[in-house]
Subunit: 320 residues, 2 copies
């Protein structure tokens, strides 16, 4: 069984590293700053509008590498299968991972499969690790925001979380919301080429834009002010959030990013982003201020102001 | 909760990469052949004589890197926790991982934690990925065995599998069998220094020595003949296997390795291994022959000969 599954992955991912069938892969790395990142994926349901756990596992890790300003090159994947998980579903997930890897320009060079008894898992969990290389000197970090920086968002928020939740709860809206899961490596490469000195680069996944902005404010010891009107939210996402009693700011995204750059670099960055498929709706949504309290504030549509808080606890379990 | 757990890991693993709290870590790699490997760990029970899932997750991945002739340098770790898993147990596992990492000389530089509902997981699963660098020219591979090669084993077999099984089945023997889980990086470094041209290097984990020898025979298109009397098995492991109806050759090891080298290099290799704590019992256990059928044969204690076959299916679930 395990051997059958291994063969399925070797065939789907089809590359010389896996074909060698060693327990490890030798990789070539170009000059630059090598980065590594890892993520576990436990999304439920496994298939949702716009994607599946396999696509998510590839894109999510590709994006975490890209958020270092790096080009993702290699992935590893560890699978934990529940006994009895349909092989057809596994093949679909493997094909989806292979396609996502091709799109992102990465190779899945090594992997592992474990099987647990029925009831000790939940279909399939996937842990992916990514390795990539950033150009020398490119080193965005969550502690590098400075007062005066512009806050740039790449596109509308909340699509992924709402797509998964709607599928999970079997909610039907007039229009289906589709996950935004996408590899952001090309977008980041264009951004880094236009503005090498990006201070902070983050993808607002778990906890949404609210968590990401608060993490940046906390780690950089600054305040952030964003403008509600500047933050795009699709009508159907807004409607679904109202129905579910959720705030789009807390909803996970899987194909969006936030960049903080010096104000003087903002226009150049936004122009470079808009030239890319995953950055067409890029816009400045706010700016960084000096604030020892590290508050994230939002100027509301009605001219008021409110604090964007951390959510206590895990807002939406198994969203990725 | 997730945040609390993240803090627990950051405190236990205590290194500058994790303290930076980015979603990825920048790593420095020396000259040489960079290798990457990944493994999922689902061992049940989580704690067993001689180790626990955390120690296993570090040593297992350290060893897969070492089996490329490489020095392991960095690890990543993804945790999938079942809701309600005791924080005290998690802290124990984190401390155990930290200690294993210190012993092996690796840093756990990046990680991720996901929580699934009660009944959708089983306590904790851990996926670790390791990166290391082999000296230029050192490249053992399972397809590189040649007729005439000596087969060297580093120590007694079956300890890990029997330790876990005995704990799981609540079997009590007169003496407790302890897992052999150990980092083999130092041993491999000494081996590579003595004999840079090691043809094949493998740790006989899942499926035991039988599976490993068959994989090597298959991938190198050779036959292998081993001598039963030369393969050390502890008395209590042999007794437990008899009781459980198992063959020590099929039992997983987590601190042993098999090396295939040119016959002329064998004595030098064994001498170098015996100078290391995890190689004290190293011995030549057989040799490689030309055989298109790719058979693994054993000369038995009684002067006969038998085939060592692959086991059909997963012999022992959740052993690592």
């Amino acid at each position: 069984m395990t051997q059958l599954i291994d063969e399925l992955f070797v065939a789907a991912f089809d590359n010389p590293w896996l074909s060698q069938r060693n327990d490890q892969a030798a990789i070539e790395l170009p000059e630059g700053r090598t980065v590594i990142t890892t993520d576990g994926f436990v999304v439920s349901p496994l298939f949702f509008p716009g994607g599946d756990i396999g696509m998510l596992a590839v894109n999510g890790t590709v994006n975490d590498v890209a958020m270092a300003g790096a080009r993702p090159l290699y992935l590893s994947a560890a699978f934990i299968l529940e006994e009895g998980f349909p092989l057809g579903d596994l093949a679909r997930i493997a094909e989806s991972m292979a396609a996502a890897a091709r799109t992102a320009g990465v190779a899945i060079v090594t992997g592992d499969t474990k099987v647990v008894q029925r009831g000790s898992g939940d279909g399939v969990f996937i842990a992916t690790t990514g390795v990539g290389v950033a150009p020398p000197g490119v080193a965005p970090s969550a502690d590098s925001a400075r007062p005066g920086d512009a806050v740039v968002l790449s596109g509308p928020i909340g699509d992924h979380g709402v797509a998964v939740l709607a599928q999970r709860e079997a909610l039907r809206f007039e229009t289906t919301v589709t996950s935004d899961t996408a590899p952001l490596a090309e977008l980041v490469a264009a951004m880094v080429a236009a503005v090498p000195d990006i201070h902070v680069l983050r993808d607002p996944t778990r906890g949404g834009l609210a968590a990401t902005l608060n993490e940046i404010a906390d780690q950089s010891a600054v305040g952030i002010v964003v403008d509600e009107r500047a933050i795009p939210v699709r009508g159907e996402v807004r409607a679904a959030c109202e129905l579910l009693g959720l705030d789009p700011l807390n909803i996970a995204n899987e194909g969006r990013l936030v960049a903080l750059v010096a104000a003087a670099d903002a226009d150049r960055l936004v122009d470079a982003m808009r030239g890319q498929p995953h950055g067409r709706d890029a816009a400045v949504i706010g700016h960084v201020i000096a604030d020892d309290r590290r508050f994230v504030q939002m100027r509301t549509t009605f001219g008021g102001s409110r604090l964007i808080d951390w959510l206590a606890g895990e807002p939406l379990p198994r969203i990725c």
